[in-house]
């Protein structure tokens, strides 16, 4: 249950980023790639960080069923939700620009790699 909830929250936060919304159609499987990166990030945390996190996510899921969608969840101002969101958003942003290049810096690694 935590896995699907993390995917829902990741997907929601991802789709709030303008550049992603504009360019996502050009990239295949980008959303599932980023969701997998977030899930792996949480799974890789030591148990005393990841277990409470997963439990919290399950609690959120129960609330989400009542609130029906994620945007409503954010309006409820639930304790610690901003911490989870920051973690998820950081992981999203860490991965997003691996697949969506925006930098003007053209660095051809093949040319400069020794």
């Amino acid at each position: 249950m935590w896995l699907s909830t993390i995917n829902i929250i990741t997907s929601y936060n991802l789709n709030e980023i303008k550049i992603y919304k504009e360019k996502k159609s050009n990239y295949l499987d980008i959303e599932s790639d980023i969701c997998a990166f977030v899930v792996e990030g949480i799974n890789n945390l030591p148990a005393f960080y990841s277990l409470p996190l997963k439990l919290y996510v399950i609690l959120l899921r129960l609330l989400m069923l009542r609130a029906r969608n994620v945007s409503k969840l954010y309006k409820l101002k639930i304790p610690f939700l901003h911490i989870l969101t920051k973690l998820i958003k950081s992981l999203i942003l860490l991965r997003l620009f691996d697949v969506l290049p925006i930098s003007n810096t053209k660095i051809n690694l093949n040319l400069i790699q020794k």
Partner: protein, 496 residues
């Protein structure tokens, strides 16, 4: 020879010296020991990634080179993001290549308050010289560069207007191509991390590197350590191996070293305190393009506040870093930062602070690190946020984004005073990359973990050679300090 997952054919190994860790401390110790002709094995928990495997993809490289993808928290109010290297080469693969000699006042403090004899500036100078030669360290001017390091030139411009002193940073590099990739593994090999310096030297001299190998426990009896039990992954299965040794050198870093000592019941003082630097960032949209990604992390620092142990410099710039630093500000700000990417710049202050952490090792495989925020640090953080804003405004900032939860962008110093006047610690975005002093060196076993020769109190054949043995934090990046102390510890070891 470097063994990786799948390469381990035996379950028992033996060596004269076993070195745990391949970062700034372990690699130096391993190279010096191997070059003396000893049979050396170096164990590294992380994987081996050669320079040719480094790419410009921040997410991908962070997942490979950092512990827990760089998102481990230091528990406290506020949560502090803690970044630790976990790969062959350790933190030197992902740090900013700035090499700083230990400030004289810190070494005096260690001599006078912690009883460290033989670690004065003049004692360590010979080691600083050797390290700087080994790693090709020099401080170069960037003032004449036309297309690179323009964000750092803005920093100089702002500091000059404020009459604040700046210094070019001594950097360990050879022919840097300014890919701004120091923090994700230098893709050109220009950065002189231990991956391209001390580790090849150790291998050349016959040392073996066991990568993807985590030491679980040190086996010892009657004050003598004789083997470690370590975990490797073969196929899909975890498997234990045993490495016997005559002498053990532990250099797992300021968190893992005390954790291992506690788990192995070898020291009661290890990890009771952990000192760290706080990093706080301020982001600006400037009035002209600086293309901050064309450059390196910090070629220049503001040294005006070194008496307070605070140093201001530019920070690594990549779209991921910029937007992650703005994660607390909402998506509109993130969208705007991406739109004006070429005009964005990040300043960072590294601060020595009074807040201290503790390492809890009793439950589970991994250490839990928590800290207590010292209220006096709030004043220091506020002062440095203000200083960074002053520099940015003098350098032509149109809008500044503060490291505060839900804060609005500011466009003048008056706005800043209003924004930071009543801030509370749990609103501030803080990160740390420098941890140290968790197994401090000292003359008295009651309040230290190793003696003045780096030897673990109570054990005959265990040396510690990493950031954990520094008596206190130092304010600056500790790599050269660690390396110099290790050189001194190894010199004393060989002399004895």
């Amino acid at each position: 020879m470097i063994l990786k997952t799948g390469d381990y054919s035996d379950s028992k190994y033996h060596c004269n010296y076993l070195v745990i860790g391949t970062g700034a401390g372990g690699s130096v110790a391993g190279a010096l020991l191997a070059e003396k002709g000893f049979d050396v094995i170096m164990i590294e928990e992380g994987s081996y990634y050669p320079t040719s495997s480094f790419t410009n993809k921040v997410g991908d490289m962070t997942a490979k080179l950092y512990r827990n993808r760089g998102i481990s928290p230091l528990i406290g109010k506020p949560l502090i993001a803690l970044a630790e290297g976990q790969c062959v080469g350790g933190g030197t693969v992902i740090n900013g290549e700035g090499l700083f000699r230990t400030p004289k006042k810190i070494l005096n403090e260690w001599t006078n308050e912690h009883g460290l004899k033989g670690y004065s500036y003049s004692d360590l100078e010979q080691h600083f010289n050797i390290i700087e030669k080994d790693l090709n360290v020099s401080a170069k001017s960037i003032l004449k560069e036309k297309t690179s390091n323009l964000d750092s030139q803005k920093l100089i411009q702002g500091a000059n207007k404020l009459k604040w002193r700046t210094e070019f940073v001594p950097r360990a590099e050879k022919d840097c191509n300014y890919t701004n990739s120091c923090s994700i593994g230098c893709p050109t090999g220009a950065k002189q991390s231990t991956l391209v310096t001390y580790i090849p030297r150790a291998i050349e001299a016959g040392a073996k590197i066991f990568s993807d190998c985590r030491v679980l426990k040190i086996n010892h009896s009657n004050g003598n350590a004789y083997s470690v039990t370590a975990e490797i992954i073969q196929g899909n299965k975890k498997q234990n191996i045993e490495v016997d040794f005559d002498y053990l050198v532990i250099a797992g870093g300021a968190i893992q070293t005390p954790h291992l000592l506690s788990k192995s019941k070898m020291s009661k003082n290890a990890g009771k305190k952990l000192e760290f630097h706080m990093n706080v960032k301020v982001i600006a949209r400037l009035d002209s393009a600086v293309n901050a990604e064309n450059g390196t992390m910090f070629p220049v620092q503001i040294h005006e506040f070194e008496n307070e142990d605070c140093y201001i410099n530019t920070s690594a710039m990549k779209p991921s870093y910029l937007t992650m630093s703005l994660a607390n500000h909402g998506n509109e700000i993130i969208d705007k930062a991406i739109k004006y990417y070429n005009k964005m710049a990040i300043l960072n202050t590294t601060m020595r602070v009074e807040s201290k952490a503790h390492i809890f090792s009793k439950i589970g495989k991994n250490p839990l690190v928590w800290y207590k925020f010292e209220p006096r640090d709030l004043l220091r953080i506020k002062a440095n946020i203000k200083r960074m804003c002053q520099v940015f405004f003098e350098a032509g900032a149109l809008e500044i984004y503060l490291p505060l939860k839900n804060s609005l962008p500011i466009s003048s110093l008056d706005d800043l005073d209003f924004a930071i006047d009543k801030i509370k610690p749990n609103q501030i975005d803080i990160s740390t990359v420098h941890m140290m002093a968790s197994c401090p060196m000292g003359a008295d076993p009651k309040n230290s973990v190793v003696d003045l020769n780096g030897k673990l109190w109570g054990m005959d054949n265990v040396l510690l050679t990493d950031a954990s043995i520094l008596p206190t934090s130092i304010g600056q990046s500790p790599q050269e300090t660690i390396m110099a102390i290790v050189h001194e510890v190894m010199k004393r070891h060989f002399d004895s």
